[in-house]
């Protein structure tokens, strides 16, 4: 990398807190694998050596929401499950991002039915919608790169209310 060369030359370099924070955030996104149905299989494939999500710094799939930055909602969200997804999302510390992976999650998909939520954006703030049924693993990596681009543009002052404690919402 150019960083070593720069340090060898001057012994220091200047940057902004915004750039540094965004750079470190975007290169270690820890995903919360919210694998609800078949999209989760493709999500697992992303973790394997062939596709290797570790190349993007996101290999640490945490199964506790308290250590995660990104929720990958992979699968059909029913009305009954929506409350669970929301409860887990609320336990994730700010800042946090959401990928709606697959057709079901984005729009209800082929389940045009009374029991499936027709798009999780009805109760979650979705950052990237991912097409496919299920999407190819490359497609999920593409979504991750888009999230990284988005995080790269964030500034510290975008999150004025940030605390070290995880924020839980007041309603259930």
């Amino acid at each position: 990398m150019g960083l070593e060369a720069k340090l060898k030359q001057d012994g220091f370099f200047t940057t902004t807190i915004d750039a540094l924070a965004a750079w470190s955030r975007k290169n270690s996104i820890w995903p919360m694998p919210m694998g609800i149905s078949c999209c989760a299989i493709e999500m697992m494939a992303v973790g394997d050596p062939k596709f290797d999500i570790a190349r993007f710094g996101s290999e640490v799939m945490r199964f506790t929401p308290r250590q995660c930055d990104l929720m990958i909602v992979a699968g059909t969200v029913t009305f009954k499950m929506a409350h669970v997804v929301k409860k887990i999302f609320d336990q994730m510390p700010e800042p946090k991002w959401v990928i709606a992976m697959g057709a079901c999650t984005s729009s209800g998909g082929m389940y045009r039915s009374y029991n499936v939520v027709q798009g999780i954006d009805q109760f979650l703030p979705v950052d990237v919608y991912l097409a496919g049924c299920p999407p190819r693993p490359e497609n999920l990596l593409n979504a991750l790169i888009q999230i990284q681009e988005k995080i790269g543009k964030t500034r510290v002052r975008d999150y004025p209310d940030l605390t070290l404690e995880p924020q839980t919402s007041q309603q259930n």
């Binding site: 009305f79 009954k80 009374y114 109760f123 979650l124």
Partner: protein, 165 residues
């Protein structure tokens, strides 16, 4: 051939053991169906399971049919299987809309407990004396029965609450 013999002995056995029992039997694709009155269901099931020659020891499925405009609106369908004789039998009971209930067979087959709960959840047919007749798939506070013909495909708006954004 063996199956045909078993069918004869099954019919004979029922006639001998339960002389007053009324039913009609029909056959489709080699499978036997009994249409019976709903008051007889527990008695018949006990005989079918406990008789050592019949031993219908597996209750494969319990479901229902909503005929919408028919006088007896619902039909409860039992699929039972005898592992010893490798024979499958279907029982059908009509249930009308006013008295939308039928006796439970969970005392005969333990697995009927959840199958009846599922049928109750989807069709609203009550199973008398059931040990734990709660909803299975839908949330407990849900007021409708989704597989009834008068339930719209996309549901009743607002009946299933979503978490707030």
């Amino acid at each position: 051939m063996k199956i045909m013999e078993f069918k004869e002995s099954l019919l004979q056995k029922i006639k001998d053991s339960l002389p007053k029992f009324e039913f009609t039997s029909s056959e489709s694709i080699g499978e036997l169906t009994f249409s019976i009155n709903k008051k007889d269901i527990v008695m018949v099931c006990q005989l079918l399971k406990n008789d050592p020659d019949l031993s219908f020891n597996l209750c494969e499925d319990i479901t229902a049919i909503d005929w919408a405009r028919r006088t007896d609106r619902y039909t409860v369908v039992y699929h039972i299987f005898s592992m010893d004789n490798k024979f499958r039998l279907r029982l059908k009971c009509n249930v009308d809309e006013e008295d939308c209930s039928i006796d439970t067979v969970s005392s005969v087959w333990k697995t009927a407990d959840w199958e009846e709960r599922e049928t109750y959840d989807m069709y609203g047919i009550k199973f008398n004396n059931h040990p734990d007749l709660r909803r299975m798939y839908m949330p407990e506070e849900f007021e409708y029965f989704p597989l009834r013909k008068d339930f719209p495909l996309m549901g009743i708006p607002g009946s299933l609450p979503l978490p707030k954004k």
